[in-house]
Symmetry: C2
Subunit: 191 residues, 2 copies
DNA sequence: ATTTTCGGAGTGAACATTCACTCCGAAAAA
DNA sequence: TTTTTCGGAGTGAATGTTCACTCCGAAAAT
């Protein structure tokens, strides 16, 4: 097995186990077994479990935002861009439930808080796309004039909640329901 | 110290430690120490850690919903009732950050999923207040005709996100901002 | 042959839970 | 009233388990 394959297998195994059972019920031994790798091998690729967890997050995060960038049409109306982005994001979560569950775990942990703090100040990553979008909306008086953080909450809060409910089987999100949800998010932030 | 005081001290200590550090970084020994109680004593009041965690959740949950019931005016308009409930809920979270953090932890854990599953089918508790409100809104065609679960996501998603951001210090929610947020939630669900 | 990479038994720390014991107020005996 | 006995709440050291991480002989690559 090529060495980069091993790294990939470890990440995949970690994603599966952590998404299903949480950080604390995904022991290194179990990750190693699922990756068909010795426990010690993991430490050849990742300094420790924290690093593994963080790098896996980075990988997923990058994958999502570069994916969203594709098919993004900067020259359509603000509303269209918002709807497109949000729909794509929601679809991604539905199609990749493991990724979603992992990201949620990460966010609801000390790591996640630190990440958001850094992000809010500096920036980086692709969430900027949304920030620019919303700031433009505020400037053009299309979007409510409230702090960016609150706009994020209004836009993402329902999206995440609805994705979670779908993945847990509390509701089945078909295309129509996805569209209605995204529209409702827009209703929440638009003036 | 009266015996019921001890139980209370244990719950208080557990709330503080778990809210701050999470379930897994709040060892029984630490809870015992903060409660000024021997480790073994905890097991006189609670069968095990899981039971302690669950009973603490129940206690907080009941406290919140009975609190919300006060000052609830069943004869005002649908919108007024929604705004009143949501505002009160958001205020409660802001005023009781430990409770909020604890409830979030609980929700984002296997316990929480089981709880919601039971809740969605059967019912019970005070969240029913919201369910009735929203169902009435749908019936009267004031609220969007989409599944209840999605309406909950639209109403609570932003509320929780915003409360989290406030507690983590990413935004300061004053009265005006609270009102605007709740209004935006209403905009999201109303037809 | 030499260097690099693997693997998984081994290690010590941390944890939830238990249990043999203490302690004290209240009841019973004196 | 004074002394003795009793019950059960309270305790924390001891226990067994689980975990992240290490380390060194074996295997693969060069």
């Amino acid at each position: 097995m090529a060495t980069s394959e091993k790294r990939h297998e470890i990440l995949r195994a970690a994603l599966e186990l952590i998404a299903e059972h949480g950080f604390h019920d995904a022991p290194i031994a179990a990750i190693a077994e699922r990756a068909s790798v010795g426990a010690g091998t993991i430490y050849r690729y990742f300094e420790n479990k924290d690093v593994l967890i963080t790098e896996l997050f980075q990988e997923l995060h990058d994958r999502i935002w570069t994916g969203l960038l594709k098919g993004y049409e900067p020259d359509t109306s603000l509303r269209e861009r918002f709807v497109h982005l949000s729909t794509a994001l929601l679809r991604y979560f539905i199609d990749n439930p493991l990724d979603f569950r992992y990201l949620e775990q990460y966010h609801n942990s000390p790591y996640g808080v630190a990440f958001r703090r850094d992000r809010l100040l500096g920036s980086g990553g692709g969430g900027d796309l949304y920030r620019i979008l919303l700031e433009e909306g505020v400037a053009q008086q299309i979007v409510k004039d409230i702090p960016l953080v609150v706009l994020f909450a209004l836009a993402f809060g329902p999206l995440l909640a609805v994705a979670r409910d779908h993945i847990l089987g509390f509701v089945v999100l078909d295309e129509s329901l996805i569209a209605q949800t995204v529209q409702a998010c827009w209703d929440g932030i638009k003036r």
